[in-house]
């Protein structure tokens, strides 16, 4: 059975490319354009194996989403932060995420991060 990855990202193009790449790597990919949509998806489909999370988004940003998700599901799904900010690692620690990738990211590095959490 394919592992599910939820990509939460407000930029449609990044979302499209990431989804296309991960599907090519045999993942099932769910996408959401903001934190609120993401929480709704999780409620409908259950917690994914991993969440790729952008920070700056309209309606509900990464901070708010992480807070609510951890409240409800604890560390059921590891969160990997995708951010353009210089202090990506700190941001990841701040919200209790398990890992981070800095934008623009290398698709192979992204894949290796994802693989880490499969073990």
């Amino acid at each position: 059975m394919k592992k599910t990855i939820l990509v939460v990202e407000d930029d449609n193009d990044i979302l499209f490319v990431t989804k296309a790449f991960l599907e090519g790597q045999d993942y099932q990919v769910l996408t959401a354009e903001n934190g609120a949509d993401a929480l709704q998806l999780i409620q409908q489909h259950g917690a994914p194996h991993l969440i790729l999370l952008d920070m700056k988004m309209p309606i509900m940003d990464g901070w708010q989403f992480a807070g609510e998700f951890l409240d409800k599901y604890d560390h059921l799904s590891p969160i990997v932060v995708m951010t353009a900010a210089g202090n990506a690692e700190q941001r990841a620690i701040d919200i209790g995420a398990k890992g981070w990738v800095g934008k623009p990211f290398d698709l192979d590095i992204l894949l290796s991060k994802i693989k880490q959490f499969e073990k």
């Binding site: 990044i14 490319v17 790449f21 354009e33 700056k56 988004m57 309209p58 309606i59 934008k103 623009p104």
Partner: protein, 629 residues
């Protein structure tokens, strides 16, 4: 015989009434043979008693020449008998023991073939005493005259009669011989002689003349000096004598001059100081103000200020709040000699306000009968205004800095997003190509879209920089505004085919002189915003309003609307009206500030009419006459 008797009677009468004491004395024995009434009076004995006595009975043992009665009488009697009248002085003792001093005259007196002596005595005791007193007084006066430090001189008819050593010294004469007999005027400087001459004339004529005045002296060596003369006159034998007491006042004059100079310096310091200075009574009656203060409050001169301020006083005229003045007076009184400083709002003559710092102290000196206030007033209006301006500028700069920092944040995000898309899209394409798969056209389309997005960002950035630095030059031409709007709307209808656009134009064609590309940029920005921020199903309305002097182009939407605070920020660079959190938008928030710059270059204005929940109408006005270049 009868005639002889008459003579006898006559001489006897003369003898009796003679004012001198006259006695007939026997030269052999010294016995008194006869004496007149004055003699009995002088010695205090009766005629009968006197005729029983002898010269030696009255002779005082202590005489000026220490001679005894016998010796003295013997000698004088002998000479008198020889026909030489003797005049000498002797002390006598009267019956009651009183010492009298007499001038004695002895002459022979032939009587009935006998040679007698006529002795007459004049009591000169009182005269002697007076003479001695006079001598003493004279000695004292002489000593005073000689030792006086004031120069004292006596003159008659303008000629020196006497002068004391101080007088000689003052005028540079070696001895009184050089001076006495010379004209008084020789000792007066030529410039002052006329006045002096007039005074001498008046005094001689017994007219009123000043008795105390200043003049200039002339020393024998020709040097002049200031002097003070005190004149008195006395009369002797019908002649008027002048006594002058003269004092050299060179040092006093010097001190006076120094004092005057010092006063003049202080006065010029007071008058010329660039700081306003004043003196006033405690109840606010102005005593002195300097020119700077008068100017500060808009008065022509110090005098005018005092004249115009005084009836009501400074509390009412100069202070905006007279209570504030009362408060500082209390403070000054409590400060006891120390000064107080405070800032006040005060009024100029024309009613305008100024902010002033007053430093004031309670002063007590001989120049005014009661304690008064003296102090400085400094106009700090400009400084205060500058401070306020500076504070405003500082706040504006801080705000600008905050806006720029927020802008950089947005810009970083906005620039990194397309870069991220490029990067990951190219990586994906690469991987697909490596696997021998073909690259989908949609991927390339996305790449182009992001390239356009980057290009827009760069254009916006360039525009805002060039407008801020005044580098944008309009390329104006005469065009039809209606056509321009219609063309623009046609483009949007293609871009957003689902949106409904309404165009209301009152005329078929309106000619204006504008830069068509720039005006279209503004209009596009308005419409683009309306599309971004309004629901899909709502219409967007564009209209032209024709006003007397201008044309208004507006774009109305049914979006969320803006609060008054948001409206104020909309046209400033690096701000975005709508919250980032609500709607996903790209861009740097520079659009409207660029629009404002473009419209202002056209001599027009830009604005928005909006209310939260009721949509917004963005508009720009263009001058009908065309732009003034």
């Amino acid at each position: 015989m009868g005639a002889l008797n008459k003579f006898e009677e006559y001489y006897s009468f003369l003898f009796e009434i003679a004012p001198d004491a006259i006695m007939l004395i026997d030269p052999e024995t010294g016995s008194i043979l006869d004496a007149n009434h004055k003699s009995t009076e002088m010695f205090g004995v009766s005629h009968a008693e006197l005729c029983q006595l002898h010269v030696r009975d009255f002779y005082h043992p202590d005489q000026p020449d220490h001679r005894s009665c016998e010796e003295s009488f013997g000698e004088h009697a002998a000479l008198a008998l020889a026909g030489i009248e003797q005049v000498y002085h002797r002390h006598f003792v009267t019956q009651d023991g009183k010492n009298i001093f007499c001038e004695v005259r002895v002459a022979r007196f032939p009587f009935e073939k006998r040679k007698l002596l006529r002795v007459s005595l004049i009591d000169i005791t009182d005269r002697l005493r007076e003479e001695e007193a006079l001598k003493e007084s004279e000695a004292k006066l002489r000593a005073l005259f000689n030792s006086s430090r004031d120069a004292i001189g006596v003159a008659k008819d303008g000629i020196h009669l006497f002068a004391n050593p101080a007088y000689l010294e003052l005028f540079g004469y070696q001895s009184s011989k050089e001076l006495i007999g010379t004209v008084v005027l020789n000792c007066i400087a030529p410039s002052h002689r006329k006045i002096m001459l007039e005074n001498i004339r008046r005094r001689t004529a017994k007219e009123v003349a000043p008795d105390f005045y200043e003049s200039r002296g002339l020393k024998s060596d020709g040097t002049e000096f200031p002097l003070e003369i005190n004149i008195g006159t006395y009369e002797l034998h019908g002649e008027v004598y002048t006594v002058a007491s003269i004092r050299d006042i060179t040092s006093r004059k010097h001190e006076e001059k120094m004092l005057k100079e010092s006063e003049a310096r202080l006065s010029s310091f007071f008058e010329g100081a660039p700081l306003g200075m004043f003196r006033s009574t405690l109840d606010g009656h102005l005593l002195h103000v300097n020119r700077a203060l008068a100017t500060m409050f808009g008065y022509e001169s110090s005098d005018e200020m005092i004249r115009l301020v005084n009836p009501p006083g400074i509390a009412k005229v100069l202070w905006e709040s007279s209570e504030e003045r009362s408060a500082i007076i209390e403070k000054v009184k409590a400060a006891m000699g120390s000064y107080c400083q405070q800032e006040f709002r005060m009024s100029r003559r024309d009613g305008t306000s100024l902010i002033a710092v007053i430093s004031v102290a309670l002063t007590h000196d001989s120049s005014w009968p009661e304690a008064y206030l003296s102090g400085f007033i400094q106009d700090i209006t400009e400084r205060k205004t500058a401070e306020v301006e500076l504070l405003k500028a500082k706040e504006a700069a801080e705000k600008a800095l905050a806006i720029k920092s927020r802008f950089l944040d947005i810009a970083a995000h906005e620039l990194r997003t397309p870069v991220t898309v490029f990067s990951v899209t190219l990586q994906l394409a690469e991987k697909q190509l490596e696997k021998g798969q073909s690259v989908e056209p949609s991927i390339l389309r996305r790449l182009r879209g992001q390239a356009d997005r980057l290009s827009h960002l760069v254009v916006d950035l360039l525009d805002v920089t060039r407008i801020t630095r005044g580098l944008v030059v309009l390329n104006c031409s005469r065009i039809d505004l209606v056509s321009l709007i219609m063309e623009c709307l046609d483009d949007f209808k293609i871009q957003a085919p689902t949106r409904r656009f309404i165009f209301r134009n009152p005329e078929h064609s309106i000619e204006v002189t504008v830069d068509p590309l720039r005006i279209r940029q503004v209009l596009s920005n308005f419409i683009d915003n309306a599309i971004k921020y309004t629901p899909e199903d709502s219409s967007i309305e564009v209209m032209i309003e024709s006003m007397p002097e201008k044309l208004r182009v507006s774009v109305k939407d049914n979006g969320a609307g803006f609060s008054v605070e948001q409206q104020q920020e909309l046209f400033k660079p690096f701000t975005r009206g709508s919250s980032d959190r609500e709607v996903r938008t790209s861009g740097l928030g520079l659009g409207l500030s660029i629009c404002r710059g473009i419209i202002e270059l056209h001599g027009g204005s830009i604005g928005v009419v909006s209310k939260i929940g009721e949509g917004s109408t963005f508009y720009f006005d263009l001058p009908r006459e065309g732009i003034q270049i």
